[in-house]
């Protein structure tokens, strides 16, 4: 072969490759690794004693508990909704389908602050349903239900977005085969559909969970910032920071960052597991 050996099929030489990798790594270091490291160093500036004191503070614990509670409600809800919507969109043709697809993306395209505001306008004291809620002594805004609602809204698209292309690609043949072999609807779903989408579903749920725990804007609008009652972790971080309590702010932030890192690790583990599944064996087998 007369072509230079170090060049690959699209003609990129070693210099080009080094430059591209260098730029990506530099960018990652400055914009991702550095801030993350600074969160942890700032949190530990006063030593481990102050760090744990900040984390074990009653308000911080309450914020952690609320964050987990909100995620625990919002994620399963959006999981069920996401699977239902993707199923409907991928396997059926119906009037208003494209409208539904557009609506699913709405939370992504709207600013989270607006998302929160929508709930204030709906359920707030001056809102549409405000008088009725007050008459029945139901508190939505500046309370936990409002925070849950806002989080559900913001994290709405994650599971559906992940599953729709996957299910569209898979088509309905496997489901039809299951039906023709005598399976009822539930057997078809649990034995054929669910196993085929499980990786996509888990991935979507993880992203949904990460966002549910980290959401700030929408939750901030509906929360009312009552310490120990309606502050989630991101809101608690802001309160502490505004009070110049930097060590505590960064300590709670590091906890949030830690949760995000755990999510990433689980996600990578899932992707690794996905690569081990028999679908990939075909690729390996085809080259033999």
């Amino acid at each position: 072969m007369s072509a230079p050996r170090r060049r690959n099929s699209i003609g990129a030489g070693p210099g080009m490759r080094a430059a591209l990798i260098g730029v990506s790594l530099l960018f990652m270091a400055v914009f991702l690794v550095l801030p993350l490291l600074s969160v942890f160093t700032e949190a530990l500036r006063g030593g481990f004693g102050k760090y744990f004191a900040a984390i074990l503070d009653a308000d911080a614990i309450a914020a952690l508990r609320l964050t987990l509670l909100v995620a625990l409600i919002a994620v399963p809800l959006n999981m069920v909704f996401g699977v239902a919507a993707s199923w409907a969109i991928a396997k059926f043709d119906f009037w208003g389908k494209s409208l539904l697809i557009t609506l699913i993306d709405l939370p992504f395209s709207v600013s989270p602050v607006i998302s929160g505001l929508i709930y204030v306008l709906l359920f707030g004291a001056q809102g549409l349903l405000g008088p009725w809620l007050q008459a029945h002594d139901i508190q939505v805004i500046f309370a936990v239900p409002g925070i849950v609602l806002a989080t559900v809204f913001v994290t709405f698209p994650f599971v559906a977005r992940e599953l729709i292309p996957l299910m569209q690609e898979q088509g309905t043949e496997a489901e039809e085969a299951a039906r023709s072999l005598g399976a009822n609807g539930w057997q078809m779903f649990t034995r054929v559909t669910l196993p085929n989408i499980k990786w996509g579903l888990l991935y979507g749920v993880l992203l949904c969970n990460a966002r549910a725990m980290g959401e700030f804007g929408a939750v901030s609008v509906v929360s009312g910032h009552i310490r120990g009652l309606t502050t989630t972790m991101p809101l608690h971080v802001e309160i502490l920071y505004n009070e110049y309590n930097f060590i505590a702010a960064f300590a709670v932030a590091s906890l949030l960052a830690f949760l995000a890192l755990v999510t990433l690790v689980v996600k990578s583990a899932l992707e690794w597991g996905d690569r081990q599944n028999p679908d990939e064996v075909r690729v390996a087998g085809a080259t033999l």
Partner: protein, 352 residues
Amino acid sequence: MTIEIRNIEKRFGKFAAVNDVSLKVERGELVALLGPSGSGKTTLLRVIAGLEFPDAGQVLFDGEDAGDRDVARRRVGFVFQHYALFRHMTVFENVAFGLRVMSRAKRPPENVIAEKVTSLLRLVQLEPMAARYPSQLSGGQRQRIALARALAIEPRVLLLDEPFGALDAKVRKELRRWLRGLHDEMGFTSLFVTHDQEEALELADRVVVMNQGKIEQIGTPQEVYDTPATPFVYEFLGNVNRVACTIVNGRVNLWGSDFAVEVAESGQREGFAYLRPHDIELGGEGARAHAQVRHVSSTGPIARVELAFDGLATPIEAELSRQRLEQLALRPGQQVPVLARSARIFAAGAGV
């Protein structure tokens, strides 16, 4: 088990995929639904299976209306075009699926399931593959597993959608012969969809030729090939030459030979003569017409000669044995006597 469909109609929006189709498949028959893509053959098969519900008409199994039963309760063995094997299950579990989803009362115990699956895998000659995943099998093996899976529920009829469509030519031929043997041995009533005329003619007891949602002709392979009922069937099955001609009082003169139209009308009208390449005789005695040889191709036992007639825009193709070609020693540019041994005449506008 007989399958009878009466006046089936299936529309998708304004498009009539199947338009007033009736058909009866006898017990033990192997019938091909043959047609180009979009002719409604797959839709018809899906209607019979219960995967689609018709807008009008009836499907009867052994004379009993199956209209209110969906696919899960029709007990049809359906083999999908792309096999639709369950990717996340082993070959064994794929075949066992139909038994495992049975209601508790009907479901056989585990050892019976294992026995049955093993015997089905033996039937399709893939017993050693039981622990593999579908992605580890070749196309032909997947096809056979799809068949074994369909047979596990002891179907009353076997429906196959383009069963050999995705396989290469050699595997296709082998599987075709094997399926025919299996059909005869097990005594199924089978219906398969194909767009491949050779496959339909070779495999089926009867061929149903479909076009634009309607049946053009039903008959044995011999019948549909030798006496096509419509110009469409002529064009679709095998090579054919189409020559414009004038029908006078129900008769046509083609290259000096006289042919009769089946339904004779008095007067004069335009028509088309259809003649197979092997129905054209070259260099024979008594030929009254001549054509110019354009091109000769003689790979294989059958030689093809392209002929140009004065006043005909499209060339005519003739077939003759290689020996005959050598006798005649045809060269391009040469004039050759031409005789039409047989031809079929259709009046213009009759679906041409």
